[in-house]
């Protein structure tokens, strides 16, 4: 269900622009190297416009980028090895910090993997709340993306406008989970705590305010001559190249592929809510911007629908009942011996997840985020691997950067919406 279905996916350019022999390395052609005019510049790990610690080693021929190499690893945190040392419950705090702009989505993918291995059913209230929080997180991530991408191209006021709404989103997170970021609210089986009663009214107020805010952003940028000049026709990525390079999410949808995991492979309650998927076929930075803006509106719709359903679900259980995995309610600890034993074992020893391997994917704000979990039947994960969409998006920089100027380079890297925590894990 695309918003712009009439745009056909005619190829944007002929053939493939993926560099050979190394797809991620744009090499300076012989004849240009021979002129002796090529300047090698290091856009170092500390740079205001590279969205974190990305290092680009760029060869410039005048203003044009003729050679590009992306060097990553400056934020490598060893998440996967750390998670192997902790129990399943404690390990949930780690995935959040991988993609620090969409922390709920990262938590979700890991928790869904645990639940699939356990075969655990989540109550509907938890499913709806998870959907609501993940969509709020999508709004949060797109707002920060828009604020910083516009800031780098010179539209500095957008930063303050977007962060004004971002504060409203983190206020909702704080109300629910007690923390602005990295809430650690999802558990294997549902949610950590019940939803506070004042949440529904504040969420509804946010949903009423948000479309006007998005109108504000569009009024500032969408028909702004400078914005159009800087983003249209820049960073082209055709449909075939995008699929070959493993792109997903807004980058893929801006290249004309109608692909959203929330629609084709619904998880949580995405098949019960009504929303559209924006698809644009131009494959340039402007198309990616339009996809993000439209997704802001669609996410607000989803949040509103989930909020309405949740308001009618007050008093229902928010976590599954399986006492081998989920802590019993505290009142029961005073009266039931089994609950006490369960509580003790879960807290000291941790629950055990049956042996197996599973690969779960969700649609995070950046694309297809996946978690490959191998369990040996013990209390700790054996191997956890996260498929980070930004890692793959950076592989496409060399392809998008064909015949780009230095100024376009900033626009292109910004439009790929990379978060370096995710790239380096």
């Amino acid at each position: 269900m695309a918003i712009a279905p009439e745009r056909t996916a005619a190829p944007i350019y002929e053939g493939s622009r993926i560099p050979q022999p190394v797809p991620t390395l744009l090499q300076v052609p012989e004849e240009i190297q021979a002129t002796g005019d090529v300047l090698e510049v290091n856009f170092g790990p500390n740079h205001p416009s590279t969205h974190g610690v990305l290092r680009l080693i760029v060869d410039l021929y005048g203003e044009e980028v003729v050679g590009l190499e992306a060097a990553i690893g400056y934020l490598h945190t060893g998440f996967e090895k750390n998670m192997e040392q902790k129990t399943w419950w404690k390990a949930i705090t780690y995935p959040e910090r991988i993609d620090y702009l969409s922390y709920q989505n990262n938590e979700l993918v890991f928790v869904l993997a645990i639940e699939r291995l356990l075969g655990l059913e989540v109550p509907p209230k938890a499913a709806y709340m998870r959907t609501l929080l993940c969509e709020l997180n999508r709004i949060h991530s797109h707002l920060i993306w828009l604020g910083t991408a516009a800031l780098e191209l010179g539209a500095i006021s957008m930063f303050w406008y977007c962060f004004r709404e971002r504060e409203m989103v983190v206020d909702l997170s704080e109300m629910v989970a007690g923390a602005r970021m990295h809430t650690r609210y999802f558990q294997a089986g549902g949610l950590a705590e019940d939803i506070p009663p004042g949440f529904y009214a504040q969420c509804r107020a946010f949903c009423d305010w948000m479309p006007k805010a998005v109108d504000d952003y569009e009024r500032m940028l969408s028909r702004n001559k400078i914005w159009l000049e800087r983003t249209q026709g820049v960073g082209l990525l055709s449909r075939a190249d995008a699929i070959a390079l493993g792109q997903s999410g807004p980058v893929l949808r801006a290249s004309g592929v109608d692909w959203d995991l929330r629609k084709v492979q619904p998880y949580l309650v995405y098949d019960a809510v009504d929303f559209d998927v924006p698809v644009y076929a131009d494959g340039d930075v402007y198309a990616r911007y339009r996809v993000h803006i439209d997704e802001l509106r669609e996410s607000t719709r989803i949040v509103r629908q989930c909020n309405d359903v949740l308001e009618g679900m007050q008093g229902e259980p928010w976590i599954a009942d399986d006492r081998k995995v989920v802590l019993p309610p505290r009142e029961e600890l005073h009266t039931s011996m089994e609950s006490l034993i369960h509580h003790f074992k879960i807290v000291t020893e941790g629950y055990r997840v049956p042996e197996g391997e599973v690969y779960v994917t969700i649609e995070s704000p950046r694309g297809e985020s996946g978690c490959y979990v191998v369990s040996d039947g013990g209390p700790k994960p054996w191997r956890v691997k996260f498929r980070a969409p930004s890692f793959v998006a950076l592989e496409a920089t060399a392809t998008c950067m064909r015949s780009a100027y230095v100024a376009d380079m900033i626009a292109i890297v910004g439009s790929l919406d990379t978060v370096m925590g995710e790239v380096d894990r």
Partner: protein, 181 residues
């Protein structure tokens, strides 16, 4: 979906709604080309390497507690309720594939490798495998033959060792508590 025609498949497993094709490493590229061209898996989602050194060595421990495999004073050292089935070799390289169509199809291609045994690169089949294979080399030490640019990607260029291996220590520093000084 039947995977009869895929060359090199040694075994097919189904679990948790996912299909795993265990493929002979020497025929990996052939199998991947078949999957991409004939079966429509045009999207390589992820390449994950796993190290199974010490798999199952924690031993079983009963629900109440046995003489081995569990120490009440050290949490999360509980053993297994059921010892897991042994694995054929030390390393597994998993390729998660996706077919972009409605409904989507996913499959996992798995190859088993010994320490030092190289896996052929699938970069000709899916260009996105470039960085994934470099990460497998960097983190797990699985050499990839035929890769045009096999350098370290996440660690320093001159780092020694492959951090995600099970015999590589977690590192870090012991935490000091002020009363203990």
């Amino acid at each position: 979906m039947s995977y009869e025609g895929v060359p090199g498949v040694v075994e097919t497993n189904e679990a948790h709604g996912e299909t795993t094709l265990v493929v002979d490493p020497a025929r990996l590229v052939e199998a991947c080309l078949h999957l991409r061209d004939e079966d429509g898996f045009d999207f390589l989602s992820d390449v994950s390497a796993a190290d199974y050194l010490g798999w199952g060595s924690a031993g079983p421990s009963g629900y109440i507690g046995n003489a081995w495999g569990r120490d009440l004073n050290r949490p999360s050292t509980a053993g297994y309720q059921k010892v897991p089935a042994p694995k054929p070799k030390r390393f597994a390289m998993n390729y998660h594939l996706l077919a972009i169509e409605t409904p989507p199809r996913r499959v996992r291609v798995q190859v088993w490798l010994d320490d030092g045994e190289a896996v052929p690169s699938v970069i000709e089949v899916w260009p996105t495998a470039d960085w994934h294979e470099r990460e497998a080399w960097d983190m797990m030490g699985i050499p990839v033959s035929g890769h045009p640019n096999l350098k370290r990607i996440l660690m320093d260029d001159d780092w020694e060792g492959h951090p995600l291996r099970k015999d590589y220590p977690i590192g870090g520093e012991p935490v000091r508590f002020s009363e203990a000084e």
